[in-house]
């Protein structure tokens, strides 16, 4: 029995075919991955399944029954639940209120049965070891806990089909592990799990089957039934004929050049919380200094201080007036003005262009868009209409062109597809080769190992460990594979505060 079956699904937005004659089935009680580049049509297909939009042609059936959802409400009634990439939580509500909303346990006239509801919640929290407090305010929780609230919402609704849109994009390695364990628990509990992802390593570990979409069409399927899923084949299917570009090579000598930024014993307290606690860090020209760590250990505060947004800290920093370009972690909130056009966003930090006329600005923007591979129909379209990868490339273009000596990249490839992240990696290396000092903040250890000249691990507001460049070099190439595993495990431990 199939949990879901798509038959000849077609969906157009204007002239653009988001889904084009897609047919495949998702087996009941399996973990099914849907992979593809940004804009390949994965989210559209899932939105159709969840009733958020309707297909132009084709049929969807759920547990053998043809369905025609007009709203998510219909999908929820068929025991389908979805965790969106951007969480749908009400920050000011408690975990309990968030979970029961729309399906409240009621006693008498409209009165919410708090005791009974919380008992049921606690049972689910214990059964799947979610470790949530029903009375906590959702807005106060960290990202991975918020994700668990979203999951709890589905479990509370007894969803049998759980859809996850890029669930691990914002998780640390250990959180990813526990997420994958959770998905296999769901499968053991008889549920069907659908994951939209382009993280091939995770797919290899936990997928029963994978369907790859490209440009709105189904191009590849593989099942883990007989043999392991061939990840290389999947990745080729994802990018199609286009080669995945190899990242640019690093030039010697790395960070022997002058130290551009030196921070000693920096402490930063906000709302009585010590977010940075005696942090010391050096950043030299011509190096990529990687900062590893689970999110929320002071990385974003460090970034704010380095780029001069936050000046109210204790400790020594040399120079005292720091100035840096920054590609921030949250491009929607801090990186760009979504309502502005691409051209206007590119202009925000440029020097020497105080007056701009339409035509020069346009020509200038088109050049930048070409140089940084920003794929937009026109420089005048609103930035918010671009895909995540192209938005990120626009932010990176603006920051690189601002020509600061120090550049901070915070999670530069988060939520960005394979080819865009390869492009971004090359640009980061280029800047290092040009002698810029690069601070690379990431929770993705692989990304850090591939790019960094040295890696410092942040934990609770301080640097707890620094890996020198020689160690990182040792794990490059085929022969370093085993060493690499060891190094990753060690970094993972340092990130969670476990001493070596």
């Amino acid at each position: 029995m199939h949990a879901v079956e798509f038959r000849n699904i077609g969906k157009k937005f204007g002239d653009y075919s988001a889904n084009d004659d897609i047919s495949f089935a998702i087996g009941a009680n399996t973990v099914h991955y849907i992979a593809g580049e940004n804009g390949a049509g994965k989210s559209t297909l899932m939105n159709i399944l969840f009733g958020l939009c309707r297909q132009d042609s084709g049929t969807v059936s759920v547990f053998g029954e043809t369905v025609n959802f007009r709203s998510p409400h219909d999908a929820i009634a068929m025991k389908i639940g979805m965790v969106h990439q951007h969480f749908m939580l009400i920050d000011d509500f408690t975990v309990f209120e968030n979970v029961i909303l729309g399906m409240e346990p009621v006693r008498g006239f409209q009165r919410i049965d708090e005791a009974g509801g919380k008992r049921k919640l606690q049972e689910l929290i214990d059964e799947y070891s979610l470790g949530l407090d029903p009375d906590a305010r959702a807005g106060d929780l960290g990202i991975s806990m918020q994700q668990k609230v979203e999951i709890l919402k589905l479990l509370y609704r007894e969803s049998m089909i759980l859809i996850f849109d890029e669930p691990t994009a914002v998780l640390s390695p250990s959180e990813v592990d526990s997420f994958l364990t959770m998905t296999s628990n769901f499968r053991s509990a008889g549920k069907t799990v659908i994951v939209i992802s382009h993280k091939l390593k995770e797919l290899e570990r936990s997928a029963d089957k994978v369907s790859v979409l490209r440009k709105g069409r189904l191009v590849f399927e593989a099942s883990a039934k007989e043999s392991k899923i061939d990840i290389d084949a999947v990745s080729r299917a994802i990018v199609g004929e286009a080669e995945i570009p190899k990242p640019h090579a690093k030039t010697e000598p790395g960070f022997k050049q002058p130290v551009l930024l030196s921070m000693k014993n920096v402490t930063y307290v906000k709302d009585k919380r010590r977010l940075l606690d005696g942090l010391s860090l050096e950043l030299a020209a011509g190096e990529i200094h990687g900062i590893a760590g689970v999110e929320g250990n002071g990385q974003s505060e460090l970034a704010d201080i380095v780029c001069g947004v936050e000046k109210d800290f204790e400790g020594d920093a040399e120079p005292s007036e720091i100035s840096a370009a920054i590609v921030p972690d949250d491009r929607h909130k801090k990186g760009m003005i979504r309502e502005f056009s691409v051209a206007e966003n590119l202009l925000l930090k440029r020097k020497g262009l105080s007056f701009h006329t339409g035509s020069t600005l346009r020509a200038d923007s088109i050049n930048v868009m070409e140089e940084f591979d920003i794929r937009a129909p026109d420089p005048d379209v609103p930035s918010g209409s671009l895909s995540g990868g192209n938005q990120q490339k626009a932010v990176i273009a603006r920051e690189i062109l601002s020509d600061e000596e120090i550049i901070v990249f915070a999670h530069p490839s988060r939520g960005v597809d394979i080819s865009a992240s390869a492009f971004i990696a090359s640009r980061i290396i280029d800047e290092r080769n040009r002698g810029k000092a690069v601070l690379l903040i990431s929770s993705d250890i692989e990304e850090l190992l591939a790019l960094s000249d040295r890696i410092s691990v942040m934990y609770k507001g301080r640097i707890v460990r620094t890996l020198p460049g020689e160690l990182i070099k040792k794990c490059a190439g085929e022969e370093g594979a085993e060493y690499r595993e060891r190094l990753m495990a060690e970094l993972g431990r340092a990130m969670t505060g476990v001493e070596k």
Partner: protein, 303 residues
Amino acid sequence: MTEVLSAVFSVAFLTQVFRLMTPYYLGASGANFSERAGVINISIEGFMNLAAFSFAVFMIFTGSPATALALSLLSNLLFALLFASLTVSLKINQIVTGVGFNLLIAGLTKFLMVLLFSSSSNTPRIEGLPDIPFLKSVPLIGEVLSDTLTLFSILLVFVSGYLLFRTRFGLRLRSAGENPWAAETLGIKVRAYKYYGVLISSVLSALGGIWLVSEQHNYSDGMIAGRGYIALAAMIIGKWKPLNIFYACILFAGFEALEIALQISGADIPTQLIQMLPYLITIFVLVGFIGKTRPPAADGVPY
């Protein structure tokens, strides 16, 4: 001066404060229901005005308080329905619509005054809403309790708190004001709850206007005198929480009672100075004590 002080520290003064709190709390609580559902309703002033006028008119023509009350609330509901269709269904800017309603109602009442009573300022005398007689005999607080709408306001503090924070209706209404997109994915009919919020706000603010016109025993042009706006300030100072809003309304009512006490005592303080106090207090309290207030996250955002 001693006369003023003795006037202030008296049961009569406290009674006065509670009575004067009534229109503020009814307006503020109404506005709160609307804003909790995510619709900013700055035409509380207009809704109070409309109800005060229509209650007077219906009293004059029917002579029955119950009929006048019902018809007056009905006319407010019709206006609120229009307000909700414009702001919720057609997503027209809520502030602009609110200002429009305030101006429209101010003009409409003036126009109808001339048409019906050949006077641009006053209607003939009316009887107000009747009191609850048997509560009058309660010692000390009988005066407060027996005023139907004052009693209703005090009960409303608890009823609205219960409704907003303990019931399914309240949870869904608040979800529409906090994150309508999330609420929709959970199958909540967000627009319907926004309509409920606006309709409740129009009924409660109508009662505020009806209290004023009952007290004054006739309708006069401009009689709401900014109480709808003070109600909005009380809602903000009260951080959108029923009990806190009640305290804020008591504060404003206290200054109004003080102003009246000063006028009666004939003390040599310019009344204009006292009249400024509620506004100064609003600014002072907001800056000094309350700090940053946080409205519902999607308040005023069209959905």
